[in-house]
């Protein structure tokens, strides 16, 4: 999903940035490449959990449910929680990068875009399926390289849960739709 878009953007970026200084290009490419690779791991794990655990057991075989209150309900962790718990564990270990799962139509309002770049990036993902979005922003006095990757409905569990949830702002998701985005931030000078 990222290979062609990433490579084309990288070539264009290299060409454009060649006039402004090789060091900057090198630095920016490093961050983008790191973000792309991190996302590859994240999205693969997320897809595997959603398809092979939640969708298989909760939707197809119906042997267990998935619930936000998984401890009380003796249920599976929701895919979005699985992703967030990982992000929080990473944040406890390092501040070299951070990531989150956001959407223009979040069930949990905390996952709505909070910065101008988040609004722009998430909208770009929806308007340009198959493409990533990269930018820079200053948050809390620190500059960040911020990368946005589309989060796509990979299983029935994604669409059925979001479409049926009473707090969901959008209830007509279909398989393959962009439902939100993974946002990765890397602090830069």
């Amino acid at each position: 999903m990222t290979s062609y878009g990433t490579k084309i953007k990288a070539v264009l970026l290299c060409g454009a940035m060649a006039f402004s200084g090789a060091t900057a290009v090198h630095a920016e490419m490093e961050e983008q490449e790191v973000a792309d690779l991190l996302h590859l791991v994240m999205s693969s794990d997320r897809t595997v959990y959603t398809r092979m655990i939640v969708n298989r057991l909760a939707v197809k075989e119906k042997v267990i449910t998935a619930s936000e209150h998984f401890e009380d309900e003796k249920a599976l962790v929701l895919p979005a929680q699985m992703f967030r718990f990982g992000a929080e564990m990473v944040a406890e270990e390092t501040d070299a990068f951070s990531y989150s799962l956001l959407s223009l139509w979040p069930i949990n309002k905390q996952n709505a875009p909070a910065t101008d770049l988040e609004k722009e990036g998430l909208q770009y993902l929806v308007d340009n399926p198959g493409e990533n979005f990269y930018g820079e922003e200053e948050l809390g006095g620190q500059n960040y390289f911020t990368a946005f990757y589309a989060d796509v409905a990979v299983a029935e569990a994604c669409t059925s849960c979001h479409n049926d949830h009473k707090d969901s702002p959008k209830t007509d998701f279909e398989g393959g739709d962009v439902m939100g985005g993974v946002v990765i931030r890397i602090p830069v000078e």
């Binding site: 209150h69 929080e88 944040a91 951070s98 309002k109 949830h165 707090d167 931030r185 602090p187």
Partner: protein, 488 residues
Amino acid sequence: MSRNALLWMLWSLLTFVGAGAVFAALYIGGDRTVLLPGQTAGAHHQLEIACETCHTSDPFDSQAAIKKDINKTCTTCHKDELKEADDSHPKKKFTNPRMASYWEKIDGRFCTSCHSEHQPEITLPMMVTLQGDYCVACHSEGDQDIRKDRESHANLTFDTCASSGCHNYHDNRALYEDFLVKHAGAPWLMDEPVVAAAALPQLPRASSTEEIETYLASLDAPVQDDEIAHDWAGTAHAAADVTCTSCHAPEEQAWNDHPEEGICSDCHKPAAKSFSLGRHGMRQHSKISKPRDAGKQLKSLGWKDAPEGLVTALNAYLNDPAPPPMMSTDEALVDLSDDAHGQGMTCTSCHSPHKEEPQQTAVTACLSCHNDDHSQSYEESPHFALWQAETTGNALAGTGVTCATCHMPQSEKKGFAVTNHNQNDNLRPNEKMIRSVCLDCHGLGFAIDALADPALIANNFKGQPSRHIESIDWATSRVEPSDQGANQ
């Protein structure tokens, strides 16, 4: 030399000596009580002269480092309870840089943003040092505006979020929306109300006089005191072969008439640990700082090879006062009876060493000190009547409700009941008590209403709540059909 010059010299000398004394007390050793910037809050007065319990930074560290270090020490003692509470606003929720705009409102990365110490004039219950409407900072704008997100909340003011029995900042285990929906419609009292853990089987022990006499006669060791031996023979200690010498002369040591608490905690480790987390026993918490060592202090100030004589002298003359080893009723900040003063808090304050007396440990010991309305109303309460019925054999085990039932709740571990000896664990906010205690016998709606009624709490739940908290009504009104969870 003129008089003025002498006065200047004297002034300079006194200033130098005074500043030196303050500097030495702050950075090397000595009593710093007079330097306390303001009274500490809650139970922290028990450790306030052990400054390094919270102030762990090196001298002259940056403000940012000091803030970070102080906040680390909060979780030294409170980490487990926050984890147990399934904290709704954990630090990890705020560390992502996308939360930067919230840091400017209330910085949720730091405990001290809401709980600032040494400020008694602005300190609210539960050591909150923000205005009571602090939720407004993050839940009143844009996508987070709860008044737009919930029709039922449209006209609410933010000072009621955490004070009405609906929400807490940290612990919402009994208040989250799906839980409300799940427990909606439960009766105020269950059909067969029993505190499950209290009804668990106990270790078998000799109970009848005949059994006890037979057991005592079978012992090799001579009985030194008939009354004590008789009491002991009916205890779990006897059943577990914990004999006189186990406590009074362990490991072939000389006989000690009055064993120290360590003897108890050697075997009862979980009880000792939870005891050290509550106000009764927190003086025994392992993380309360020890008196400073002058040599280490000089080293942290940059003097690595201070003469040994100087270090010895400083340790001798500038020794930190340590907090007493146990809490005394004289230091208590709650309402105690006149007869209760001058008592230390040890295991034997509540537990008779040779005899099991549930009435003493679970009721009498508490009421011998605590003199507030709630405590003094207990013996007039329905809960006490149930306890009387149980102890007189007129009701099943676990049906009685004592002080300890609610304030030192038991839980099941390996088939037996384990008692939480931190009597503050579920006390504040009082909704923490709902799942650990109330729901054993009562419905959620009744429990929420009862705990939100100060008058009912004061008379120890003699009657029905005069208030109704609408949280369950509002939660169920958002669910169609009725069996669907709110946030599944």
